[in-house]
Symmetry: C2
Subunit: 375 residues, 2 copies
């Protein structure tokens, strides 16, 4: 199973690199190809899901290691604007399309909520592979993706509340406070604390790899705290990486790369594995899928682009394109809707298609938008 998933991901990744396309697209397509939709060689299971989740955690941790807290806080205001408009525009466009289509209100707001998601892992991997993380647009994208995750959580909480019955406002407020509090606290104070504590602690431990062990424990602990606070575990992983970015040695970077090189293909192929094309053989659903896909791309381009209007046209395009991939995050929202019984199997399929398709379209667009490296 490991051989099939890893081998096919790396093989198709190589094929795509040779076609001058981002290898990441090949790795996701490998998952579709070997998955239940096409060749049926393998299907998602507990172990593959765990490896995929660990993979995206290490991906974000590694990206965090490259990012200084001060860089991210510097772009905080613009990133907040980008994230907010990148939530509002897709949500209402998705809801509007389903309403126009004649779907019940609750289906519309769930599709809207799924369109709010941003899969920061995909964009971060493209930028990291090309050494573009230090550019201003990249930092806005990362900061906005973190904020988007918090906002997306709140949208999902509201939407689920509406679907379930009367909204529980105190519970909603608690969710908001926890999620925002955790993210702001760790982003603000994490680096300062880590810069002081980690080297001192590592020096007192016997193991020669102690700095890496401490990094892993911080990664697991913040991921766990993040999911307690209601945010995605990967946000905790990213913040753990950022907290260590100023104190981590080259050895910690190298060892982290080893884990990422092994596990990230399972995350990428895993997105493809969850894509089952058979549910798309009705012309009506195909039509809706096309419409939702176009709306998903345009709404992030416009929403996020508008939020970055002060940075000029080149960065507006980069930021808009960078926020397009929905990846695993959009699928999770659709799964929650399916699990609550508020969206039918067909609409679930439309959202999965939108999530995977935006994830496949975005990497070449990101690469193209960054083709001139001058700012």
């Amino acid at each position: 199973m490991l051989l099939v998933v890893f081998g096919s991901a790396k093989l198709l990744g190589e094929v795509f690199e040779r076609l001058r396309m981002p290898g990441i697209v090949g790795e996701i397509l490998a998952g579709i190809l070997i998955g239940p939709g096409v060749l049926r060689w393998t299907a998602p299971n507990d172990v593959l899901n765990a490896l995929a989740e660990l993979g995206v955690m290490f991906l974000l941790f590694g990206v965090g290691l490259e990012i200084k807290r001060s860089d991210l806080l510097r772009v905080g205001r613009i990133a907040t604007l980008v994230a907010s408009l990148g939530v509002v525009v897709p949500f209402f466009l998705g809801w509007g399309i389903l309403a126009w289509w004649g779907a019940p209100r609750v289906e519309g707001i769930f599709v809207g909520a799924a369109m709010v998601a941003t899969s920061v892992g995909i964009t971060a991997k493209v930028l990291n592979d090309r050494g573009l993380l230090s550019m201003r647009a990249s930092q806005v994208i990362l900061a906005a993706a973190v904020i988007d995750d918090v906002l997306g959580l709140l949208v999902l909480a509201v939407v689920s509340g509406v679907a379930r019955g009367p909204l529980n406002l105190p519970e909603l407020a608690l969710t908001a406070v926890l999620a925002i509090g955790f993210t702001v606290l760790v982003a603000h104070w994490g680096t300062v604390a880590a810069r002081h504590a980690v080297p001192k602690l590592a020096a007192r431990l016997r193991s020669s790899e102690a700095p890496f062990h401490i990094a892993l424990i911080l990664l697991f602990a913040l991921s766990l705290l993040a999911s307690y606070a209601g945010v995605a575990a990967i946000i905790g992983a990213f913040l753990a990486g950022m907290a260590l970015s100023e104190s981590a040695t080259q050895r910690v970077h190298d060892l982290t790369s080893g884990v990422s090189e092994l596990l990230v293909p399972f995350f990428l192929a895993g997105i493809g594995l969850h894509f089952d094309v058979e549910s798309f053989f009705t012309p009506k659903l195909l039509e809706m899928s096309g419409l939702i896909l176009i709306a998903a791309v345009i709404s992030k381009l416009i929403g996020c682009g508008l939020g970055a209007v002060s940075l000029g046209r080149v960065d507006m395009l980069r930021i808009g394109v960078g926020m397009v991939p929905r990846g695993e995050v959009g699928m999770v929202v659709a799964q929650i809707g399916l699990g609550m019984g508020v969206i039918p199997k067909g609409v679930y399929g439309v959202v999965v298609f939108m999530s995977v398709a935006t994830t496949l379209i975005a990497p070449p667009m990101i690469a193209w938008s960054y083709r001139e490296k001058t700012e």
Copy 2:
């Protein structure tokens, strides 16, 4: 779950290092402590088992990377003798003790088969951590452990055949041919093939980490082939590492270390997690456990030591001690016996106790036997 297992393993490992004991013992004890027997914080599950198995695969792969094929083939004859006597003595001693105890014949031969096992991962980790892999005794241990795995497989096949009914000799012969053929072929020709093919292949691929990706694919492929051939997957992993030992770059070593540092604690703590002490509260079983434990240590010391008599007393001791840990391999044999219904729960508990206890006793003994590094 990851945080609890990894964190407690590293914490107890550090405590043991400070007590001047091998950290590996602390990591196994951490598994016992947090497992179902004591604190009940976590229990073995599919994901933890998969991480543990991946951990021991990467451990053996990393050890293989340090070993040259020529070194291992040089000690081949002595290692064969060490492995053979290390199979015969424990098997008959274990069987004899159970017969003397009045247990049915089939129980006796299963306990004997479990005592044949050698957990090469444990010894290899101790030797690797202390930089002792290049010493002659270490190379005899590694080669003998590989041969022991093949012999152990054959013993298990015979024992299971006896338990099931009439022995199927053609099937047994096929098992032997497959296992021996795979091991000899890969050990003999693997390095030659890898030395020629891998650098050429890596140079033609686009990804900058291509050598590591090829190494991982070889690791997964040989592990899979090994289990098809009936040998343990870790033997395939070890042979994959050895095949690459002459062509692997420093970068491949570093990235492999990253994965090992993350996953090996799950292998070590996983051994502890499978240890449930509650089944030992009858005095009779405690007595039998003590007897079997003493027999397990002495039989490997004598058997393997005698096999290495031509190397002198220091190496005899090192090799005898190095083959003592039964680890996960002994437990697997006991689980097969339990699954076939031929050994009762109590005897299963005795074997698990023997497997874990030898694994805890051996590391300090290995460290002590190597205290003078002169040969």
